[in-house]
Symmetry: C2
Subunit: 204 residues, 2 copies
DNA sequence: CGCGTAAGCATAGCAATGTTATGTATTGTG
DNA sequence: CACAATACATAACATTGCTATGCTTACGCG
């Protein structure tokens, strides 16, 4: 028998991601055109176009998780939360079409764990903030992480899909600041931490 | 010559919205099947499927604006802001597919004004909150409205597309509360206003 | 080392999609 | 009442994703 060549799978995924980036329609035939593989490759490696989209979604979540994991942690957990937010928005806006695919319904995500994975880095930073006395002891880390995520996703989505201009991303700073102050942080200190975390690596 | 019958246009739009709600694929032929009009109707009234999607988007924004306009205003502007948020999320979640179409890129919105229209009710309530001394004088109403919108959209989008469960909508209460406290409102009073505004008409 | 077989892979054909072309019917207008 | 412009129906067309059919390849076992 014959074994699958993982290089072909990566080739198709990368090419699909690139076509997404350059805003060319990703169609079965246009995807394999220019390569030495034929349309059947999509079926042997992904089972069809739906499988390709699902794989692309997972690819998006994987890249996001990698970006978040690459953010260096400091001794200031609130600073780190803002830095994670900046990384999240950077990732979303440097490949808006991929970000949109990530949250496209209709393709059940075989991942499910990937989204939680990304949330976990937020949860961990929030737990550190509690341990450091920055946040009150009664804050629910998962709830606060979910709320932060919703804020970042809301802005990323509105910018990626058009209604808001690129510059609107900066709105995340005052909103996160208000949220973290509500969680117990000292206002002045919170403002400083969030702003430094954001400015350390703001979206282009 | 012959004049267009506006009833046909409404029929197609309503039928498309209904098919969206029942999660049937909205295709040119399936749309006109079962009616007495033929495929050409879509072209005479919308210029093609793209035109139909654009019209559906506008329909979504129009319905949203109507729902927001129907929210009764009280003497408590912070209460009203929460009520507007509840109406926004109710509207989004009672027709999630239409909501998703509203923020689908690829179809430039001939509306543009419609989105701003919805924002305006928020801006107005924020201005009333400033006038009532609930918010500081230096808050930018448009900026604060945009931030509130991003919060609502983020939660609505994450729930509508799957990652978060229905119950996660309640997260909007603590986040809006923190945001409004950050805008200058008194913590206890803010909490009461937001909770009452939310509970007055919470999403099903 | 070699062969058989299971799986990758290419070609071609199929159903369904959106669109356009062409002719007909209808209805507002002078 | 006649003209003409426009809605409308039918049908053909290009492109989409998918499947059927062979053929080729290379892994595994004797």
């Amino acid at each position: 028998m014959r074994t699958k060549d993982p290089a072909v799978r990566s080739l198709l995924l990368d090419r699909a991601a690139q076509m997404l980036r350059t805003r060319q329609p990703v169609t079965l035939r246009s995807l394999v055109a220019g390569t030495d593989v034929s349309t059947m490759a999509v079926y042997t490696y992904f089972g069809g176009m739906d499988g390709l989209w699902k794989a692309l979604r997972q690819e998006g979540f994987t890249r996001l998780a990698a970006k978040l994991a690459a953010v260096p942690m400091s001794e200031d957990p609130v600073h780190d939360l803002a830095a994670l937010g900046a990384a999240y928005l950077s990732n979303a806006l440097e490949a808006p079409d991929l970000y949109r695919v990530m949250f496209d319904t209709g393709f059940e995500l075989e991942d499910a764990a990937a989204a939680d994975e990304s949330l976990h880095s937020l949860v961990h930073a929030i737990e550190r903030a509690k341990a450091a006395g920055r946040f009150r002891g009664d804050v629910d880390p998962v709830a606060l992480a979910t709320q932060s995520w919703a804020i970042g996703h809301g802005l990323a989505s509105l910018v990626a899909t058009g209604p808001l201009p690129h510059a609107a991303l900066a709105h995340v700073v005052p909103v996160l600041t208000a949220l973290f102050i509500g969680a117990g942080d000292t206002p002045d200190r919170c403002r400083q931490s969030v702003e430094r975390g954001w400015n350390q690596n703001p979206p282009a």
